[in-house]
Symmetry: C3
Subunit: 351 residues, 3 copies
């Protein structure tokens, strides 16, 4: 499987990291994380270069990690600082260090060339810090399907009517056309369902009685961040720009590719309703949990079929414009990374 | 694994099918079955051509099946009848339809070219509908071994003495020679054990006190249907043609190849004793269940050994005449199917 | 995976064998063992040459084993003695017989050419039969790692400080250098820790109050037998030759390679303390059990990493001298066996 490497991926929520060693697999790489005494999160290659024991089987000593087999010890920069029984440290004894940034309760890891890691590129949105918005963390969901399958689902408003008929969609939207726009590298797919019955989610939380205008905007930031802006308004005829006047929710999904058939989805939401009611946020999460389990079942079944007949071509239909656009952008990003790598090789002075 | 495709296989008992979607795997193909409103069983390729979700994850709408991901809908002939969000239906949007026939409480599926599906070729025997015979359904048994291994066991009277010593065989038959005859494509292996102690099964059900004449006739209809005619008579010296005068049972096995290492065995029996006593039929089935579990253990152990050393040649002995004949017939059937396919390709006008 | 074949491996403890059929896998070979009526252990290839059913699925008849499928029967020398239903016995109908020796409560099997099996080469040590020594059997431990990984651990005193800090090692030994000597084909790695706190094991059993001199001598007999001589003495300054004056324990490990990723470790100990106290031996075994479970976790994690990146080169450090020497000896043994096989082929008269 190919991945975009020069990107910030979510390693976990801030709460997931402490002074113990936490093993992760991201882009098929074993990574071990822990907090330094200062609290800063460290991420290192999770394998001792001596006999390959994962460092996560060892222990944290101060700011360092000690291998659990023969005690080789590595600092937070990945360099070996001790080999028990000998004084000289072999020059090849080091492990890769992954750049880490922590922000808004989220720990981000950079899987590409460390010198390219620019914290300015980390996903952000003003509602994380704005009055009138509640930030509510969700959970992480393991999905046995590769990240392209999962991401496609996140630029695809059409599936909601069929996969989530009791929570996020209903029959009223089945045939409403989808608008697809590319804004920079972000794929935006959206639709409005006007003057229709509210879906289960807004019946449960919005106290909506009669018909509503409701919307779905899926902002998919390649490779792996998704913002789903959805809401309802009992005031019909709402202008596209006035969504804040309705009940508006941003469902965020941060996909972390594990390997060719597995993805972790860290999900959370930001909302402009019941902003002081943590219980409401928890109850919303329970509905999200139901809906995302429905996605998981579909995406894992698709993965299983792809493995059975990998070469087969699928029929493409109108609603695939968004997913097709997303796949093309990711493919271009991967191609561009390879070209840069090749240039670096070509320009390297001969030894 | 190679299979005979132009053949009727058992998809299940009639009771197994209703208005819900039932997924099956037959000859490595995913198949989804359901009953139309009229009651007729439909069998379609179990994969939406759009994003490969098995249709069995969707739902039945009237006579149609709707995909659970984006609502693409297919009629009982496999043609796409709806793509939500667009009016035109892509010409490539269809799934394979498998011919189905239902008879005597059994649902048969044709896995080959639909135009060759001839209901006259479905296995039948007069005792299904004759006075003096009770038809008693059994169960389906999953066996982790390929269909050739399972079928061999069903033209092999010799194994009964060793695998089923408490139910269907005993030591008296260990060295009795086996007669092997080919009748058309049917392999018939048989032996009589004259004037011997009855086996466990007939002790339990036949009220036999002293010695009996007993017989085994294995009729193996390639590729996958087996009729085992076995019985006992307390009147010694019974003529081969007069088996109906003894207690006579036909154990039927319908093998459905799943893939290269798995087979489903649908088994049932027809008997000329206790014909109005359903309880007796159930108790016989319990003995069959014991015996077939013994076969399953042997056949799965053999499969495991074959996987370990696939190239190794086995020693062949006298009792292998029936199995060898069966394997040759199946191999010839597969070769003939390939030749017909090749002729069709050769004769196809160039585009 | 390559193995030394001309060697005695431990098939099990004497108690493990009786008149029932016991299946084993050794050097990727299926082996079935049972005791003859005389008590002698027989080891045969565990597969009937007819249809590949493991003979261990059959039954013992006198000194013979009968296949559970069609009753083919093999004598303790592996030759077929009966084929039910026919008089002549096919010349190819035999299974391999493995030489077996039983000694000191241990059953040894020879996996190579039977004519080379020399009982004099079986591992022995005088303490099995000497006054003042207690022989105490342990258990067998399955380790999901290949035998070279497991054996390396048994010529590696350095890991004890880090893997077994509560039982067999402690921090005092972390930087004590290791002596490595080759005595014939035996790799001897050792170190003394002088005037230091006793480790958990000797605190528990030796009644040691203050500082001790303690030692580790790892005698690794390629391919697969290990003797770990370890002990403590409260009399400081003990001479290397006077270890019997301290509390001295020999931990024996007999490795049986199963396949490329699995090994069975039969372990036991011989001690010069509490020699009449079986309960003490059992309690020592409980500590060994804790320690060997720690090794198992490390060795299985290493195996998993090797499978992920089989081609990768590891960093080698000073403490690897013993393991490197061991690997070289095993590699030479395998090369020598192949050369002999090649010579045999070359010298074979042409047919």
């Amino acid at each position: 499987m190919e991945y975009v490497r020069n990107a910030w991926y979510v390693a976990g929520w801030s709460d997931d990291f402490n002074r113990t060693l936490k093993p992760l697999t991201i882009l098929e790489q074993g990574v071990v994380c822990y907090r330094r005494e200062s609290g800063e999160v460290v991420a290192l290659e999770d394998r001792c270069p001596h006999r390959y024991l994962p460092l996560s089987k060892g222990r944290v000593l101060g700011d360092d990690v000690q291998c659990g087999y023969h005690g080789m010890t590595f600092g937070p920069d990945g360099r070996c600082v001790r080999v028990p029984g000998q004084d000289n440290l072999p020059s090849s004894a080091h492990v890769h260090r992954y750049p880490i940034q922590e922000r808004h309760g989220i720990v981000w890891i950079w899987m590409g060339a460390p010198e390219k890691a620019d914290p300015c590129e980390i996903f952000d949105m003003p509602e994380f810090d704005s009055n009138g918005w509640a930030v509510h963390f969700g959970d992480h969901l393991h999905i046995g399907s590769h990240y392209l399958n999962v991401a496609e689902n996140l630029c695809d408003p059409a599936h909601v009517s069929f996969v989530h008929p009791t929570t996020l969609g209903n029959a009223a939207s089945e045939d409403v056309p989808i608008r697809v726009v590319r804004e920079g590298d972000v794929v935006v797919t959206s639709r409005w369902i006007r003057n229709a019955e509210p879906v289960g989610f807004f019946k449960a939380f919005g106290n909506f009685q009669g018909h509503v205008d409701r919307w779905h905007y899926y902002y998919l930031h390649p490779p792996c961040t998704s913002v789903i802006d959805f809401g309802s308004s009992s005031e019909l005829g709402l202008d596209e720009e006035d969504r804040d006047q309705g009940m508006r929710i941003f469902a965020l999904h941060f996909l972390t590719p594990v390997d060719a058939t597995n993805t972790i989805d860290h999900w959370m939401h930001i909302r402009n309703a019941a902003t002081n009611d943590d219980g409401a946020g928890d109850r919303m999460n329970e509905l999200f949990r139901v809906a995302f389990a429905e996605d998981k079942e579909v995406l894992e079944a698709i993965q299983a079929e792809e493995l059975k007949q990998p070469e087969r071509r699928s029929v493409r239909i109108a609603i695939d414009r968004g997913p097709n656009m997303y796949r093309r952008i990711v493919s271009d990003m991967i191609t561009a990374e390879k070209a840069i790598l090749q240039t670096a090789v070509d320009e390297k002075p001969k030894a």
